[in-house]
Amino acid sequence: MSLDRNETATVERLRPADARTCADILRRAGEARQTVRVRGGGTKEYLGDPRPTDLVLETTSLGGIVEHVPADLTVTVGAGTRFRELEDALARAGQMLALDPPHADAATIGGIVAANSSGFRRARYGGVRDLLIGTRCALVDGTVASAGGRVVKNVAGYDVNKLLIGSFGTLAVITECTFKVTPLPVATAGLRARFRRAADAYAAADLVARTPARPAALAIDGRARDAWELVVLAEGEPAAVDRAIAIAADAASARGRAERGDVTAALTALRELPASADGVLVRASLPPAAQTAFAEAAMRLEGFMRLVSDAASGIVRVEVRGDDDVLVAAADSLLADARVCGGSARVERRPDRLRARVEAWGDGDVPGLFLMRRLKDAFDPNGILEPGRSVVS
């Protein structure tokens, strides 16, 4: 990793036990103009274009469930809590935080929020931005501030939560989060359908998305030009789940071969893509109907390995392997295609040796960037937080 400097002894690692200490660390770092990396479970260190920092602030001591009122369907949790730990605690009360992020064993709540990390379940339950209702954060001026609250509906003042989601630690250090939680589904069922053409897989997914079936996952897995699979997960009340799967089977059967069965393992594997750090991984967010064209272009790229998409939300990940020139060309092409399709994309992973040749955000031309920079200045005027991690910093 290019972050090697952070692995050496010269880098100071700090593990504050509460928000106050965290803010003090940030204030001192700001005064000393020391740069700070924020680390939760360390599952997303490759994201963005991070540069070595003087300090590493680890959030793992900011853990634990602060408050869970099952009857209110809300939970407040320290940012350093591992997702799995929260999931288990909620399950004991018959509830869940309806996110299914990758690396759920190691990933922390703060990291999931900061990276806006979501899985396929956002199709039914929404993503981080739909479930997070409150945050506490430590700021570089040494203050601790709260945004939102602990009730599920709240429009008092600006929704600063939204700015922290996907900010990758560049605005503030998230120390605590409050979420809406959901009762565990009574019933679950799955379906897998195989197609010869990408267009057929997407057409089937679109048919389902157009009904009120509200599947809990509508994932598409492309492994070669002629090998596409649609993975459908339905959750909820038994009768509705049965019917949702029947709808999906109908939609798929016109063009492919459908088979009912457990899809848990299949979805887990798709979420964790890719296993290797060798290739390039591009993540695009697209208007739903543009996914077919994007996928058809992607599968023709030299070095195309795999495409995984959350077809309901238009989130597509493409993995490419090959020599350096192949990787550079594919990354450029995918970033450009996403834009032509009316969406945006970033390179989530590339080999370290290509960091200079493959920019995480291409030309970095993001709409509203000047406003984002103003926000960054208002929160972190000296730019000490997570340099290079986000397109803004």
Binding site: V69, A71, D72, L73, N116, G126, G127, R129, D130, L139, T143, V144, A145, A147, G149, R150, V151, K153, N154, V155, A156, G157, Y158, D159, V160, N161, K162, L163, I165, G166, T182, P183, T211, P212, A213, R214, E237, A239, D242, R243, S285, P287, P288, A289, A290, G342, G343, S344, A345, V366, P367, G368, L369, L371, R374, L375, D377, A378, S390, V392
Partner: protein, 481 residues
């Protein structure tokens, strides 16, 4: 209505302002030549009033940008206005300036069925969007009770909700793109038809900003498939306590209905007189609950809800058998505010939120406040998400101070219960002085940073959301006493 004392800003006013605007945009887009024409723009759905210095009716984004540049250059506040149904004085020019009415920017620009998105102008009326989407089996989820009048621009500015946002999310959960004009005239496009963008979620920060970060000139929203079927249940209880206990029990049982609305006896009387929805008049509390989605299993869900209501003492249980019957039940709920005219000449609606488990005790506090002040208070609200709407009834503007006091006591109880000052109506100029009840100075400073980044000149709808020294001094004295 009370004319609120305006804290006027520097910047041009009067003749020079009107003349400048007419030169900029032409006479057909400017109101203010005759001061009496401004009167209808001095109030909204709340109780405060203030007369604008001028009103502008832009035709397009270019007009809005030109206007904003002009106002910026001359130090004139700019106050966006949709249909004026807002319930927190958001569209009232409390510091003077130009009101921008979006009445002429009310078109659906694109119905993108393939992507399940619509691109609309901010002046579009909420219901018109769902009506236009219905032939495609789609709808726009947020359904404020004012949906026949309120605009998408207003919905975005207030992050509006409605009965059916309990299960499917409020406005912010359904916006994927915005075009905004900053107070210096810069046009910024944010997002589009995709769900995520790169960088910070500026759309998320903008939705609910009440016109204080800039003006929305175009909105891209998600459209959602219409449910295949619905079951709508009316449950009548002898007391509000039982009705609210049922709400908690339904939520706690793991059911997630599409809507759970509550209404007390006073509200029921008004609604029955005005709409004739068929609500039993002798009930202490009435619950409206709806489940929807795929047809399968809906009857079973409805039966479970009915069983919970019965266990909690429901005396009447009715399931709508026809579409017409369902629509009548909802017409009663959606017409409830308007029906208050049957009970009193005026009402002041509050909008506090509480954790759902606190419903019974906070409702008791509301009735104590009512007794203490000798003011009748009707309750009709989004119980499923703990969003109270106590309607304080009064007949005489001289009572207004007492009415405000009662409202403040209710809000204080909501905040003390761990809730919020507002769930959907916004802070506006009505609750900005109360913000310190809910937020510490550091929390407000966090919001200030956002304001400064978008609107450094503080010309976008000034005097809203944040406590202002001039108007809040009195409240602060009050609070520290």
């Amino acid at each position: 209505m009370t004319a609120t004392e305006r804290t006027l800003r520097a910047g041009i006013r009067g003749r020079p302002l009107i003349d400048g605007l007419v030169r900029l945009l032409g006479p057909s887009k400017v109101i203010g030549e005759h001061p009496e024409d401004l009167l209808i723009y001095e109030y909204d759905g709340a109780v405060d009033t203030a007369t604008p210095d001028a009103v502008v009716l832009p035709d397009d984004t270019a007009d809005v940008a030109a206007l904003a540049r002009f106002c910026h250059e001359h130090g004139v506040p700019i106050v966006p206005r949709g249909a004026g149904t807002g319930l927190s004085g958001g569209a009232i020019p409390v510091e003077g300036g130009v009101v921008v009415s979006f009445a002429r920017m009310s078109r659906i620009l694109e119905m993108d069925v393939a992507n399940r998105r619509a691109v609309v102008q901010p002046g579009l009326i909420n219901l018109h969007l769902s009506t236009a989407a219905a032939p495609h089996n789609l709808h726009f989820v947020p359904d404020p009770s004012s949906q026949k009048a309120c605009t998408l621009g207003g919905n975005v500015a207030e992050n509006s909700g409605g009965p059916h946002t309990l299960a499917y999310g409020v406005t912010t959960n359904h916006v994927t793109g915005l075009e905004i004009v900053l107070s210096d005239g810069t046009i910024v496009r944010l997002g589009g038809k995709a769900e995520d963008g790169e960088g910070y979620d500026l759309i998320g920060a903008f939705v609910g900003s009440e016109g204080t970060l800039g003006l929305v000139t175009e909105i891209t929203v998600k459209l959602t498939p219409l449910p295949e079927d619905k079951r709508t249940i009316l449950a009548a209880f002898p007391t509000m306590d039982q009705a609210s206990a049922s709400v908690s029990a339904i939520i706690a049982s793991g059911l997630v209905p599409a809507a759970i609305e509550l209404m007390d006896q006073l509200a029921t009387q008004a609604v029955e007189a005005a709409v004739g929805a068929g609500y039993p008049l002798d009930a202490g509390g009435i619950l409206l609950c709806e489940v929807d989605g795929l047809r399968d299993g809906l009857d079973e869900l409805a039966s479970r809800i009915e069983a919970i209501c019965r266990e909690n003492g429901a005396t009447t249980l009715r399931r709508a058998q026809t579409v017409l019957e369902r629509e009548k039940l909802w017409a009663g709920r959606k017409g409830a505010f308007a029906a208050m005219g049957r009970l009193a000449p005026a009402y002041y609606v509050q909008d506090g939120v509480i954790p759902r488990t606190r419903l019974p005790d906070v409702l008791r506090t509301v009735s104590e406040v009512s007794k203490r002040h000798g003011l009748r208070i009707a309750n009709v609200f989004h119980a499923g998400d703990g969003n109270l709407h106590p309607l304080v009834l009064f007949s005489d503007m001289r009572e207004l101070e007492r009415v405000h006091e009662a409202g403040l006591e209710i809000l204080t109880a909501c905040v003390e219960a761990g809730g919020s000052l507002t769930g959907e109506h916004g802070v506006g100029m009505e609750k900005n002085c109360y913000m310190p009840l809910q937020f510490r100075a550091e929390d407000l400073a966090l919001m200030r940073r956002v304001k400064t980044a978008f609107d450094p000149a503080d010309l976008a709808n000034p005097g809203k959301i944040f406590p202002t020294p001039s108007r809040c001094r009195e409240f602060q004295l009050h609070a520290t006493r």
